[in-house]
Amino acid sequence: MKQGPVYTIVFAFLLTAVFTSVLAVADAFYAPKIAENVVLAERRDVLYALGLDGTGDAATLNARFDAQVAKKTVGGVEVYEQNPVEGPYGIAVPFTGSGLWGTIRGYLAVSSDFSRIVGIVFTEQQETPGLGGRIDELQYKEQFRGVPITGAKIVYGSNGDREIDAVTGATVTSNAVLRIVNDVLDNTLPKLEVTP
């Protein structure tokens, strides 16, 4: 049998080389497209958080994004700011915090006068699918629109004139989201206020 150690080693080397080359080619071929998808997903999420139209194909969405939103650094925080319109406009502030299983990232959009939350979006989360993962559903995210920022903590139940419900069966994730939101309001917003 041709099963000596030399054959085994040569075979292992060759096979690994062939298969990793296949992967390298596939990766190089798809990398630009994947990078584009990542940017596009981020832009769609930011538009959603700002309460703007985040639907449509790549070209429409990019055009709309460029026309309506600008990336700025305010008080050391990189935010996406809606180009000023009449009345208060939105500012999307990035956040990172820990959920039940992993990191939750996303954007919390607040109005430019810091009086209300404009919207929330999660760009990355590894919560339990079907339970904590449901924070990604519109039913949950839409509840944050228009919640007044009063200095008091945002809680489940009533917040001024708005109600927010937790996700049933996902207490840890729901609480994690509130903790992150309150952290943004308490710690990140003051940084933005420094520069008018």
């Binding site: 075979f11 298969f19 994947i34």
Partner: protein, 221 residues
């Protein structure tokens, strides 16, 4: 002795179904069956991987040194899984986001290595590919049955479309992994009964008992 195509299909979809007869791939059956769409993509991803890895391993079967065959199997399986993952990320970004880590976890699915060990290393490429293909489809069918029951009872929806017109209360337990345990156990029980009341199966060219299950990687959350 070559197995007939018909026998490969019948065995994988029914009499030796990977999940309810061989009790393999249980980990992912628990984790991804609360939504029908997730189950479908998972099942198809696994089917693709099992078919192609069985084909490749079978084609190489006379060249693979026995001592490192498991490492080679893992390598080949991993390559196909990564290809699936990259393809989904590039072309179906939304589904990729919904499935998150599940696609990568196909690598740890016991069924793929089970087919490689039990079948592909002693059978010709075409039959091995069919065997992998139908093993995957058998898995997909079981997953879809579980997901249908769980999604309807747990969320009142089918493929994400709400059908709970009467607003009946949904069962949270159905969304959680224990529900899949009950349902799989019930299916195993029914299958055993159905198959044992028939005349003892013809001496099917039964595959060698599958190797010990690989460590389940799925978090049973």
């Amino acid at each position: 002795m070559k197995e007939s195509v018909r026998s490969v299909i019948q065995r994988n979809l029914w009499s030796d179904n990977q999940v309810v007869r061989q009790i393999l791939g249980i980990c992912s059956s628990l984790a991804v069956t609360n939504f029908m769409s997730n189950s479908l993509v998972m099942g198809l991803g696994l089917t693709f991987t099992t078919a192609l890895s069985s084909l490749t391993l079978s084609a190489l079967r006379n060249a693979i040194p026995r001592r490192i065959r498991m490492i080679v199997q893992t390598l080949v399986i991993a390559v196909y899984v990564i290809l699936v993952d990259v393809f989904i990320k590039a072309n179906l970004p939304d589904i990729s986001k919904a499935l998150g880590p599940y696609v990568g976890l196909i690598i740890t699915n016991c069924i793929i290595m089970g087919r490689a060990e039990a079948y592909a290393q002693k059978n010709p490429p075409f039959l091995s590919m069919l065997d992998g293909l139908f093993a995957g489809l058998g898995y997909t069918v079981v997953l879809m049955i579980l997901a249908t029951v769980r999604e309807i009872m747990g969320f009142g929806s089918v493929f994400g479309v709400d059908i709970n017109f009467l607003h009946l209360p949904t069962w949270t337990i159905m969304v959680m992994p224990p529900a899949a345990f009950f349902l799989i156990a019930t299916m195993i029980w029914i299958m055993s009964n159905v198959l044992s009341t028939k005349k003892p199966a013809a001496p099917a060219p039964a595959p060698a008992p599958a190797p010990a299950a690989m460590p389940g990687k799925e978090a049973t959350t």
